[in-house]
């Protein structure tokens, strides 16, 4: 077997092994001082600037609709955004439309609220500074229901307290009372937010999503149906840099850089092998 034949028939386990190695290497202490420069793009900055422009007491709805599979890309955004909202003393309504994300989101909100004591000298209180509505199925129906009244799909919060007896929810009826909805999603829930939340109720909407999905939503960004997009790990790192809150996304960018380099090298090797193979086949045909 010639070299190019071997390369073209390369067992995929070699690809997996090399990639795994280059994912681990940047996490070693050797690369602890290596950092990837991150320049926030306009669509990420617009979300940050919008939240920065809100006043204490303004309401914002964070719909954290992702499951543990997308934790790596979206958890950093959730943490950074919740931190920013609490620091600005906004009233944060959180919920999830992801069935398996309910407890994960609850723990994230609690984590950030507890950490505010350490870094900002106050602890946001559940019921006064934030509320967690929990999970309900059928995202389209829930989004439509909330457009009429939050109490239709969520008569109680995640802990069983009726919304009317929660101090911060008194007088808060539907999307008209919130300044914006930020949806963190890894699936098709964003489609429902755009089609039902924004198109039907005129909700001011921004999205944060996994990298693979972000490209799909640029048409909505350009038509201003959404006012910002945070896409994938890179977007999460950009948001962390804007919040001056470097976290796991910033750390994970090192891994992403190495992984991308490995994939690019493999693509180049694959193409070199392909062209070598073609060149060797062509002279054989001519000599006939």
């Amino acid at each position: 077997m010639t070299l190019h034949d071997r390369l073209l028939a390369l067992d995929r386990r070699w690809v997996f092994g090399v990639l795994a190695l280059f994912v681990i290497i940047p996490l070693t202490p050797m690369f602890s001082n290596f950092s990837v420069p991150v320049t926030p793009v306009k669509e990420v900055r617009e979300i940050y600037d919008f939240i920065e422009g809100l006043k204490p007491g303004d309401y914002i709805l964070l719909s954290l609709d992702y499951d543990p599979g997308s934790l790596a890309e979206l958890h950093p955004v959730a943490y950074a955004m919740l931190e920013q909202c609490f620091a600005k003393r906004l009233k944060v309504i959180t919920l999830t439309l992801s069935q398996t994300g309910a407890q994960m989101v609850e723990e994230a909100v609690k984590d950030v609220a507890d950490s505010c004591k350490l870094y900002h000298g106050f602890t946001p209180e559940r019921g006064i500074d934030y509320v967690y509505l929990g999970y309900k199925p059928y995202p389209g129906l829930i989004i439509l229901g909330m457009g009429m009244n939050f109490r239709i799909p969520f008569p109680q919060d995640y802990y069983g307290t009726t919304l009317d007896s929660i101090p911060m929810m008194r007088g808060i009826k539907n999307y008209d009372n919130v300044k914006a909805v930020i949806n963190l999603s890894a699936g098709n829930v964003s489609d429902y937010w755009v089609a039902d939340g924004n198109a039907r109720y005129g909700v001011k909407l921004a999205l944060a999503m996994t990298g693979v999905m972000a490209a799909d939503y640029y048409p909505y960004y350009q038509s201003r149906q959404i006012f910002g997009i945070i896409g994938g790990m890179k977007g999460a790192a950009e948001y962390e840099s804007l919040c001056k809150n470097p976290g796991t996304a910033t750390e994970a960018m090192k891994v992403q850089v190495f992984a991308h380099v490995v994939i690019i090298i493999f693509i180049i090797i694959g193409n070199l092998a392909y062209f070598l193979g073609r060149r060797q086949t062509a002279p054989t045909q001519e000599s006939r």
Partner: protein
């Protein structure tokens, strides 16, 4: 009768909800909320069917000792364990054991499966991204440029970023918008076919 009743129901509710979209009155809104509630209720009943199917298939595999029947044991035991520990006398969804299983088994397993994607992308890229033709070369170059946006490339970072952003905001946007419009129109057509009873494959035979 088995086909007529569902067809009539689909037609009536399809037309009513289409009209409801244009009618903002209180009666229309109340009717819509009523329908939303019933959709949720039907979904819960359907879950019972799903659980029964899971148990039935798993039990048969175990009973007949089909290939890898042991995995069916794991599936059924896991399902019943989560249901059991999620019961309210264990604390329900806030219970200690349920949370323990959720945080230490469920979350890592889900994240693991998703992480396989990175490796599969690498192997698929290696196998499929070949400059076989002009079109595939364009695809290859575009993919490389977008991947390079993430990598610190020193003096090349700015032009690569600009080209990458242009690619996302112009040709990508145009193609996606075209497909979205087509998909939207297709969706309207399919919905119309279902409401009018033209599309009946979901009903089964008389």
């Amino acid at each position: 009768m088995k086909r007529q009743i569902p067809l009539v129901l689909v037609f009536v509710f399809g037309v009513l909800l289409a009209i409801q979209y244009f009618v903002p009155s209180e009666a229309s809104q109340r009717g819509y909320e009523f329908v939303l509630d019933w959709i949720t209720i039907i979904g819960i009943f359907a879950m019972v069917l799903g659980i029964w199917s899971q148990i039935h298939v798993g039990y048969n595999k175990i009973k007949h000792r089909s290939e890898d029947w042991q995995y069916s044991v794991v599936t059924l035991v896991s399902m019943f364990a989560m249901m059991f520990f999620g019961l309210s006398f264990f604390g329900g969804l806030h219970g200690t054991i349920f949370r323990l299983i959720y945080n230490n088994v469920f979350i890592p397993i889900q994240a693991t499966i998703f992480s396989l994607l990175a490796f599969y992308i690498a192997s698929a890229s290696y196998r499929a991204f070949r400059a076989r033709s002009a079109v595939s070369t364009v695809l290859l170059v575009a993919a490389l440029l977008l991947m390079l946006r993430v990598i610190p490339t020193g003096p090349l970072a700015d032009p690569i970023n600009k080209i990458g952003n242009w690619m996302l905001l112009v040709p990508n946007l145009a193609a996606k918008r075209a497909i979205l419009i087509g998909v939207g129109l297709g969706g309207v057509a399919t919905a119309l076919k279902i409401v009018l009873g033209i599309e009946r494959s979901y009903l089964g035979k008389d």
